[in-house]
Symmetry: D2
Subunit: 338 residues, 4 copies
């Protein structure tokens, strides 16, 4: 960490600052310039609060040299983390597709889709039981009953499931769920993250609408610091001025995250664009760019879907997407990133 002091800092305050830094087990190196003094800190600065330093009247700027995340940091864990989800391995060079409807609507619906997406190449079934909807008047999901249907469907089809949790109080219902999803709106629901850190379930953590990559990793760190290292990251689009798509899918995040962390990273092209016809091109781009998998919304009757039908594709289209993705996998860009 580097602290740039303002010109002519008060010497008493400077001594107090240095003393405090030493008490944090940091070694301080001075660099005296003509206008500004620069302090270089050596040691573990993860727990140093840059806000507090910036608040000091003698400090002009503070810059981290080390990343503020440890458990999630590639530097601390060189090899890719591989997460086993009921026999399905995520990370480390595999490519897994999670597919299913936005909302679980009935046993028939989810069971039918489960069979169809498995046949087409999906390895994990997705489906929403607890649904975060912008409007209180919109369908809020079948909740516990939906979870039951999802698990029934998964057993029939023989594939693990991923589904979203919205609040700590719902955790007891997730016992038979294989992967617990934290949605974009909850990426910084820190109490929920801490609680999930105490479980041993794999967690699918979606990037918030306006989260930086470091913030995403700090949220993963909340889960990991609690003891649960099974975190799967998911890029699902960010909010920008560009509104031709619902969100702007930030594909450069994939190679950047692979350099920053050892955790697996998947892409959700359905929410990331909000447009059915963009799912295939963005899925192919995600595969080629080195993602560890996809999450895709599939509905047997997208036009009758209870939510997000506009971005759902049919099982037939999904089969085509999955096949084309498999075709490009041998050409994936997964080499070492400096």
């Amino acid at each position: 960490m580097i602290i740039v002091l303002k010109p002519n800092p008060d010497q008493k305050q400077l001594e107090a600052l240095k003393k405090w830094l030493c008490e944090q087990n940091l070694t301080v190196h001075d660099s005296l310039g003509v206008n500004n003094t620069v302090l270089g800190l050596v040691g573990d600065t993860t727990a140093v609060d840059t806000e507090m330093l910036r608040a000091m009247s003698i400090v002009q700027d503070v810059q981290r040299v080390q990343e503020p995340y440890k458990c999630a940091n590639r530097k601390m864990h060189q090899t890719d983390t591989v997460i086993d989800v009921g026999g399905v391995k995520i990370g480390g060079g595999t490519f897994q597709i999670m597919a299913g409807p936005c909302s679980i609507e009935s046993q028939e619906q989810i069971s039918e889709i489960a069979v169809a997406v498995k046949a087409a190449g999906a390895s994990i079934l997705r489906g929403g039981a607890f649904k975060p909807r912008t409007s209180p008047y919109a369908f809020q999901g079948l909740r516990e009953k939906g979870l039951e249907m999802l698990i029934n469907a998964s057993r029939q089809a023989g594939m693990p499931v991923v589904t979203e949790i919205m609040d700590i109080s719902q955790l007891p219902y997730f016992e038979d769920v294989d992967v617990i999803q934290v949605g974009a709106r909850n990426m910084q629901n820190f109490e929920l993250l801490k609680e999930l850190g105490k479980t041993d379930k794999p967690i699918l953590l979606k990037r918030g609408f306006s989260a930086t990559l470091t913030e995403l990793l700090m949220s993963a760190e909340y889960i990991m610091a609690g003891g649960n290292e099974k975190v799967i990251l998911c890029e699902r689009g960010i909010r920008t001025f560009a509104t031709d798509t619902r969100n702007t899918l930030d594909l450069s995040a994939i190679p950047l995250l692979r350099r920053m962390t050892h955790l697996p990273i998947i892409v959700d092209p359905s929410h990331g664009t909000g447009i059915r016809s963009l799912v295939k091109p963005m899925a192919l781009a995600s595969a080629i760019i080195g993602a560890d998998g996809l999450m895709v919304e599939v509905h047997n009757h997208p036009e009758k879907a209870w939510c997000d039908g506009q971005q759902s594709i049919t099982p037939e289209t999904f089969a085509d997407v999955a096949k084309c993705v498999r075709d490009v996998l041998p050409y994936r860009c997964r080499e070492e990133i400096e």
Copy 2:
């Protein structure tokens, strides 16, 4: 609501769509153009899912004419809502200042600040006990103990308090809290909003980092639809490419919100800028533009603050801000907005 159909829509699908719309108690008006047919819907469209309509293959676009929020809508409730917080009235032409530290650090600290900000003109004491921090390694607040200190301080100073809740499970601790704050990161924590809708406490709802004004009002609607109409909105800056400030304080939101809703709207210039020296100018601008109040971070020793010291001002500076704000109140822009 207006539905623009694609050219030459399939007639069977069109009939099915019209039938379904009629079943929703909506009257459908056709407008036949050369290229596109437009359907105009008359009736209460609040519960109509525009996503579902857009997913239909014959539909090109859907546009709301009515707002999707009812309880919060100015059209349904012409006069300003006034919320009574232990005798302090918020809304309807008053101007209230909430002030206090980012974090409660000790009984002495919060008690000393409480007395100071009250003397300087604050009418409500703020202070964080449960703290949402980006890093799991940063100070997370004194939690229950902090709440106790806050309430002690408020009783000594004789002023009501506002403090943030982070999870439903903390609700029992908030019995003596006067206003419950929902932070920007939780603006779309819908389960929490629903639960708060069942209480009769005033709720201070902060705008999310990347929330539109309609989304903010839909979140207010979650609380109000549950029966709790005491919602105070708070503009606290949005995330943009402009990083000279921590966030970009969107002051045009104030007059826009006043037109859209009858709920009181306050501004947080401390989080909205993240820079101490901007608190005063942005506070004055908020007052003149017609806000119903302010929320300001005040710390007796900003340089030793356990969080967000960079944006905290001293009680002395706060007294100056409060005085200057009072001076401009007679010139406030509160006239009718078309």
Copy 3:
């Protein structure tokens, strides 16, 4: 075009509006609802100023159904436009790579790079002579002399060139230039666009930092309306809150633009990310997603480049990128987009 009127519009103003619309050769269809009247306009609304309509006190909202661009519109010109650049065909299923240094620094430098990128698979040589730099104190390009060196190098290597124009007054120097580039900062330099519309040179038009896709096409329309239909579009990243990369490369723009327009679309992964190690993954993603080509910065000594060295790759790396791109071309997603 649809005009939503406010409730109970003044009848005189409404009659005046309808009369004016009829004078614009538009047919007006009324749709009377309970709260709002909606006018549907039939005819060519390209020249109707939506701003003027929105300014009327009886108008609540105006929505275009037809796109405001004609020459660039895919609906008016179903087949892909193919642009011939000295025998190199851009568009219609080909894939062309433009490569070369950010700045031309010397005859030796540009000649050496030209030979290297041609050998590696580039079909067009790029190189900056007039350089838009944020600082007036930074190197501004070799200007006319640079253009001469570029053209010399291109003749030696036997490949056409593309280079940026910054002002109309520079046009005389561009006589021997094969493709004239308009940079992101000049995307809405309308006087320059009009002037380029009078030439018969292919124009490479880069998307502005904060331009929507419709704005990009309107700028293409400026050139095309002047008679020059040879416009190549270029996605090069947009400005968002996400600053891990210099810009956020918006790859979803490629399939969206292919649906909106018949013009060829290329991607610049060098400026789009600003990071050397991201050039290859983003180049592969661009190819697979259906772009018509790439523009890549290549420098024989990136560490000594006079500008943008951080995003330049070596000829050796470029050869690897070009090879990998060729490998994935058979799997490109170029099918019909609804």
Copy 4:
């Protein structure tokens, strides 16, 4: 400037870097840490290209301590710059209002508005002759003829004028223009800025849609480095995800710019919001926050305006705005900013 090196840098490269830095007349201070070496540079780093440094393989990061602008820097010029426009002083504590129509439409129109806005308190007449319009099919301004009408109107009314230039080639027509405006789309039209730097006319430089404050000042620096120090800055809204307003007016830019530069700063609430009813509240907020003036669109018949009528106010409304602004001026926040 601070250069953070990667761990274990190649010693030869490090020596070469240090040698080169010394050749730039910079003194280099080493700070050796456990993981990273940090170089502190002392001297004038304005012309040092941070891009080039970042491109070096041994460099991890580069951070400026000094600002990259000199002429515009408050540190180099402590007192406010005051610009005299035909006797009207801008900057240094005055408050000037520029008002007039978006477009000049006829001699009668501009003359009538000139008289009206002068009577209401405007000191400078604005009016567009060369109009940057997104669509080539929209009205492009009366151009030279419009300029003549503007100057006639200004002489009749006895007030100086400001109007926009779009291209260097138009400069000869601006001989009688008092202030030349550079629009947001041209903020980085560097060739135009350089040419304006050779004139002795005051330049009104509008912030680009997605420009940082440093970029705005670097564009001012282009003009000033050429010898013309008469630059007036103008905040006019930035492009964000928030689309309730046309742009997001960034009022925190005013106190920030006052700290960074000695140049006067005005606000354009008309373009900054795009909504008529927001002009007054944002004008009052701009005045109270410490701006040096306003630019406001006024039209005698906003509903018949040829462009941007939606954001134009009538002379009557303008008179009310100007009066209310005058009322709050005694309470302006113009004190020293740390």
